[in-house]
Symmetry: C2
Subunit: 113 residues, 2 copies
């Protein structure tokens, strides 16, 4: 199976880029919205600003890094279940981040020998 890993560069974000707990919860909500299962993860809030939050899933992972000083969030979405649409995950995160401008790219990753 070949999966589409998504990379979203979200600029001009009006959302709470400095709230590590909220961003982690957003990742969990986004995962559940496509039926994925959160199984672990972590978040770090940097000083003076910025967050990295990762949600490990039964189906791989979601990750967000933020630079509040630039209103920038970088997002990664990898779902190892073809029935789960990574763009649906992004649409949930987009509602939280509220970017003015987004660039979505994909890297194909083949799961197999």
């Amino acid at each position: 199976v070949t999966l589409r890993q998504l990379f979203v560069d979200a600029r001009g974000c009006a959302g709470p880029l400095d709230d590590a707990d909220l961003l982690r919860e957003a990742l969990q909500a986004a995962a559940r919205s496509v039926g994925a299962t959160p199984v672990g993860g972590a978040e770090v809030r940097y000083v003076p600003h910025g967050v990295t939050a990762v949600q490990i899933l039964a189906e791989s992972h979601l990750l967000i890094s933020t630079w509040p000083e630039h209103r920038l969030a970088l997002v990664e979405i990898l779902l190892c279940n073809e029935a789960m649409d990574p763009l649906s995950v992004w649409s949930v995160l987009q509602q939280v981040l509220q970017p003015a401008d987004t660039e979505v790219r994909a890297v194909l990753r083949r799961i197999g020998p």
Copy 2:
């Protein structure tokens, strides 16, 4: 600043793809090898096999996902410090994973407004 995020698909791995603790330690060692600072993270071992391990850094993150049944490891490397070479991080991980075949790709990510 524009950073090069690396994606490595490592196939035919002879290394310990099912050892979550060891993979997490490998991420930390790889980070330190370029002067990066581990600040958090998590790892999950799946049943019956496979691992996702993430190391959050002061300079962003390293992540590895494994499929032991395919001898496959997917690696992501993002370092928000231009003086730190992501390929050097990969060279440390490569020694642990011992892949027969690797594909290295990069996605450019611009940190700024």
